[in-house]
């Protein structure tokens, strides 16, 4: 069973009422909750892979059962400041774009939960979401990576070492 009140609080934070008669809004709702859960926020909805990509039938049941609350954004609960920050980061990145969320959430689910390599996950996305343009697929995957896979201190140190010669060359070229 998912925490539908928390789900409503998330959409309240995003100022995004979910109308269960609107295809796009349900899609955004599904993929948003999926990505937030993959980021570690516990909304307790079980997700799986379906013909629509990463999807939770339990969440579907809830936005039909509590359609008024999902549409009027009355949850009766509030998110912590940390949770609000995560929700806003996701919202700033994806800007409620159904296509980018569909691509990003499904890619992330395949990598994180089905443990496929990024290359394999990309292949699956190209096959199952082949109706999107390549640029949309690249953008959706890139946003999912940006949201979920924050670079560690080691990654940043490695990146600094890798890019230092290029930065130095660039600075030197400005002197001439």
């Amino acid at each position: 069973m998912g925490d539908w009140r928390k789900a409503v609080a998330i959409f309240e934070e995003m100022a995004f009422p979910v109308n269960c008669n609107k295809f796009e809004e349900k899609l955004v709702a599904q993929k948003t909750i999926c990505l937030l859960q993959l980021k570690g926020m516990n909304v307790e909805y079980p997700f799986g892979m379906y013909v629509r990509g990463a999807y939770s039938p339990s969440l579907t049941q809830d936005y039909y059962k509590h359609s008024e609350e999902f549409q009027n954004l009355h949850s009766g609960v509030s998110l912590s400041d940390e949770e609000k920050a995560v929700v806003n980061t996701l919202d700033d990145l994806f800007e409620k774009s159904p296509s980018l969320l569909e691509i990003g959430a499904t890619y992330a689910y395949i990598v994180e939960k089905m443990h496929l390599s990024p290359v394999e996950a990309f292949r699956v996305i190209k096959e199952t979401k082949g109706f999107y343009r390549d640029t949309q697929i690249a953008k959706g995957i890139s946003k999912a990576k940006q949201f979920l896979f924050e670079p560690t201190e080691t990654d940043l140190k490695w990146l600094e070492q890798e890019t230092r010669p290029m930065q130095q060359a660039s600075i030197q070229s400005l002197r001439h």
């Binding site: 295809f23 796009e24 349900k26 013909v51 629509r52 579907t60 296509s99 096959e127 199952t128």
Partner: protein, 110 residues
């Protein structure tokens, strides 16, 4: 085999033989899990690896004509009119009959 043979043959009389195509069974299976949310034609075509548009639409239209699916147009990102397919109660009932019959076959073989 002897015990279940007649039962399996009898039960097959309940089934709609027009559904016994790989693509139609894949479509019913996939949509039976999505309830009222359904899936768009392009999700069905790509997600179930059905092949081309012709094959996808001929099977979807046949299922709509049989009353097992319903189709509605939905807007997507302000520009597309996508075709959304949703399983009907009759479709779900028919899919459950097929599953029961397949279960009978599998259990009988064990």
């Amino acid at each position: 085999m002897k015990d279940k043979f007649l039962e399996i043959v009898d039960y097959s009389g309940n089934l709609n033989s027009k559904l016994f195509s790989l693509n139609r069974m894949k479509i019913l299976w996939a949509l039976s899990e999505l309830g009222e949310d359904g899936a768009t034609a392009r999700q069905i075509k790509n997600g179930l690896n059905i092949g081309n548009d012709g094959s996808t639409y001929s099977n979807l239209n046949a299922l709509v004509e049989m009353g097992y699916l319903r189709m509605e147009k939905v807007t997507f990102e302000n520009k597309d009119n996508l075709e959304l397919y949703v399983i009907t109660p009759a479709g779900l009932e028919e899919w459950n009959k097929i599953k029961t019959w397949l279960d009978m076959l599998v259990c009988e073989g064990e």
